[in-house]
Amino acid sequence: MQAHRPGDPRKRVELLSKALSELADPPIKVMEVCGTHTVSIFRQGLRTLLPAKISLVSGPGCPVCVTSQGEIDAALSLASREDTTIATYGDMLRVPGTGTTLAEERSRGADVRVITSADEALSLAMNDRTRSVVFLAVGFETTAPATASVVLDAWREGLDNFMVLDLHKSVPPALGALASDPDVNLDAFLLPGHVSVITGLATYRFLPERFGIACAVAGFEAEGIMMALVEVARQIRMKRPRVASLYSRAVRPQGNVAARNVMDRVFTLGDAPWRGLGVIPSSGFFLRKEFARFDAVERLGVAVKETPPPVGCRCGEVLKGLIDPPFCDLFGRSCTPAHPVGPCMVSTEGSCAAYYRFQKRGYLDWKD
């Protein structure tokens, strides 16, 4: 929700929408990659202002949503250990694994703590050395540097009771997988804002160069998102796809080099399972050998198994932008935010949850 600025924001957004309408000829299909964008677009009611020629689909940029069923089950099996404290970001609490959730395990007595930063997880371990603390490290380039940094801290401190269930993933390889999937068929990406702060712009260049896909990094306010849409529509119209940034106050072209160095020191890229997208080469941040003693999978012997998603759940197709959430038979029936079946209905950033919350029963019949 942005603060009031001088001038009439409604007028400015209306003008941008008009520009978009003129540029988008023929119609274009744009994927907003990032879950924060998805929610922002819904919360600001932007879908009601977009010309019909813009088809906006949500992508795989909600960290909880792309976490595979097997990874969630691994987290749950850790939570069932008596001597173990689980430190997790709040979004993970209600994601259904096979048969249970972390919230449910907590209500049965498991020690599950909601934290807002990796530092807090480390503090839990430092303050009570009698318990093992496992940090559920979920997220993209946004949260991975903080995980890397606390692993380095724990290593320097010689901490023995701190571990990480490392589920971090990298966004650009997933975009590559989508771009090369003939079913997906996108004209443009709205690139994520926060991830790009870390990665910079160069990492996305292969998208216009190899696949001819227009790209723009967008901020999160209504005008920022609309301007990014105008930018990709213009690139497509001129047939000159490139990587543009409309979020220059936060994203530097080279990204955050210091953060990437910390990540490089701690992680190495490997093949990782994404819900709906399958295993994507070099898309997971894995702890390097020398940090293996902080790896919960190695230390505690949990296995990340391949587990099929719940029957009927189409989160996978939603995450690839192949269907809008209401086309899933479970949507709004057996799968609601109160009783979710798939992760896209749980996470605040999941596109099913956003559709349900903000647009479940169609657009409002709004009279001025």
Partner: protein
């Protein structure tokens, strides 16, 4: 409450134990309340308002208080425990008169701190002429409660003859908000997640006598304090109960910038955040300005504003026109408000 209650036979599949979400004021809470009241035929809870109106013109309410931290910017659990019950009476047009107070404290809790909270509670009673008439105290072994739980039951007398309630809503009615939404919730969230928000303070306060001043307005339809579940929950309940639509305008809401920043950082919906001295008021359109003027006569209501209206269109749904001019639904929170990942 962990594990004390379970409803296996009608339990939601796989969720037969209480979760924190069942106490968060959203749809899970409603499901639980419905399951409880089902066992009490003809319960007055069925009218879904903040307090019950008894024969003889009395009104009564009860509430439990379990805030963490116990003391926060703008108030503490003592003040909160009286204001909360006073407000539940005030919004139905009942003057608060008598208070019953229950104290459950943990072994080892400092006596001086407890008495400090009792002094805060007493101060609110003194200022409103409320008499403490009965009470109960329990001390339980360490670890069985988190410091201190209070519960208050407040009895009052109806000032207005015709009862206020969502069933009175009519298309065209104006919706007024008495202060910025979500101040208490944002203050507590900032504490809990270690954020420093300069200038942010809970709105914890008694809505009486401010709301008393608008009781003579003849077109007054209903009032609710926007506590657990926030403004969004109040409006959703109104629209569902009245079978009418409600439309609000984001640019008319008297936002608090500090509360918005906290919500933005944690990924919380500001309309879901609780207030503890903030009421939504619905009034016939022609009397909206007069009502706002009356509210603005109190420091608690100095930012009172008309934020929207009741409509015939989209019955049962609440819509918001956003800053950018788009529209969307306003929903209730589902369960525990959880901070997002990034």
């Amino acid at each position: 409450m962990r594990g004390l209650l379970s409803f296996p036979e009608e339990g939601v599949p796989g969720l037969e134990r209480l979760s924190i979400g069942h106490g968060a004021g959203g749809s899970l809470t409603q499901e639980l309340i419905d399951q409880i009241t089902d066992r009490f035929d003809g319960s007055p809870l069925a009218d879904g308002e903040d307090c019950a109106i008894l024969p003889g013109g009395f009104a009564v309410t009860i509430d439990g208080y379990t805030v963490s931290p116990l003391s926060f910017e703008g108030g503490d659990i003592g003040k909160l425990s009286v204001c909360g019950s006073v407000n539940d009476l005030s919004v139905r047009g009942a003057k608060p008169l008598y208070l019953a107070l229950g104290v459950i404290a943990e072994e080892g809790f400092p006596v001086r701190e407890l008495l400090g909270y009792m002094e805060s509670a007493a101060a609110v009673c003194r200022s409103l002429g409320i008499e403490l008439v009965t009470g109960d105290s329990k001390v339980v072994p360490r670890g069985q409660v988190d410091g201190l739980f209070l519960s208050t039951c407040c009895l009052g007398r109806m000032v207005r003859e015709d009862p206020l309630g969502a069933v009175n809503l009519r298309p065209g009615d104006a919706v007024i908000l008495t202060c910025p939404p979500g101040l208490h919730g944002a203050t507590i969230a900032a504490h809990r997640y270690g954020l420093k928000a300069r200038g942010l303070s809970s709105d914890c306060a008694a809505l009486w006598p401010m709301l008393e001043s608008i009781l003579p307005v003849s077109g007054l339809r209903c009032m609710r304090d926007c506590t657990r579940g926030g403004l969004a929950t109040v409006l959703c309940e109104w629209s569902e109960r009245a079978g009418l639509g409600i439309e609000i305008d984001e640019s008319l809401i008297p936002w608090d910038e500090a509360a918005l920043s906290v919500c933005d950082l944690l990924g919380f919906e500001p309309l879901h955040m609780a207030g503890e001295g903030c009421a939504a008021v619905a009034v016939e359109e022609g009397e909206a300005q007069r009502t706002v003027t009356l509210l603005k006569g109190y420091s608690l209501g100095e930012r009172a504003s008309v934020i929207g209206r009741v409509t015939k269109e989209h019955p049962g749904l609440v819509g918001i026109r956003t800053h950018s001019g788009g529209t969307r639904l306003v929903d209730r929170p589902v369960g525990e408000l959880l901070p997002r990942i990034c």
